[in-house]
């Protein structure tokens, strides 16, 4: 079973609208990260939120973390056509045997129509 599951799998919005993606996970984490992947390319790190943080902002990005529900959300405000990409959450697991590994979710494919 997957450590991270994302919802929705696909999202299509108009330019200027907000996009919200959710991520749920199963085990204790040190941190949760969000990445972006353009089609056929590598992943680019967007933002990291630690397990003792509840909310973090970076430009048009807002990430929340609820460790009691084991869930996180990524909000992109005032979306642009250039935001079209796949977005992945990744969890840094707690525990010495898992140190240094990130487990990725299935991703949300976002399409922003001009």
């Amino acid at each position: 079973s997957q450590q991270g599951e994302e919802d929705p799998q696909a999202l299509s919005i108009q330019e200027g609208e907000n996009a919200t993606m959710n991520c749920s996970y199963k085990t204790s984490i040190n941190n949760l990260q969000w990445y972006r992947q353009n089609s056929g390319r590598g992943l680019v790190h967007l933002i990291l939120i630690r397990s003792n943080e509840r909310e973090k902002h970076s430009g048009r990005l807002r990430v929340t973390l609820d460790t009691s529900k084991k869930s996180s959300s990524l909000l992109i405000t005032a979306s642009r056509a250039a935001d079209t990409a796949s977005y992945f959450c990744a969890t840094g697991l707690r525990g010495s045997s898992n140190t240094g590994k990130l487990i990725f979710g299935q991703g949300t494919t976002l399409q922003v129509k001009p």
């Binding site: 040190n30 390319r41 790190h45 590994k101 990725f104 299935q106």
Partner: protein, 114 residues
């Protein structure tokens, strides 16, 4: 921009061939990773390394092997490629430490085995 490079970007080969996917980073990172990703799917960790002469298998079983003779270099080898190995292979690195920070990804190597 990330200083991590993968070659080749695209490779089409016949069954039974030996292939090596190269990954190099110039950031002096101790931790390096190989992920496998099928189109539109999540990333699966297949190998990781915490430093020179240190390699471990990831969560997804893979017939590939890796080596870490130099800090900056983390090649992946398939001794006898099969069609089931067709996939995208992503290399990543990060600084050392007890928890996983931001991963820097290469652009990926897309392998097709005929």
């Amino acid at each position: 921009e990330a200083d991590i490079y993968q070659t080749p970007r695209y490779l089409v080969i016949g069954t039974g061939k030996k292939i090596t996917l190269e990954c190099s980073q110039t950031m002096g990172h101790d931790k390096m990773y190989w992920y496998q990703q099928d189109p539109g799917m999540e990333l699966h960790l297949i190998h990781y390394s915490y430093g020179v002469n240190s390699t471990e298998k990831g969560d997804l079983s893979s017939e590939s092997t890796v080596s870490r003779i130099r800090t900056e270099h983390f090649p992946l080898t398939l001794e006898s490629a099969r069609p089931s190995h067709t996939s995208q292979y992503l290399c990543a690195s990060t600084r050392g430490g007890t928890s996983t920070g931001e991963l820097f990804f290469g652009e990926g190597s897309r392998l097709t085995v005929l």
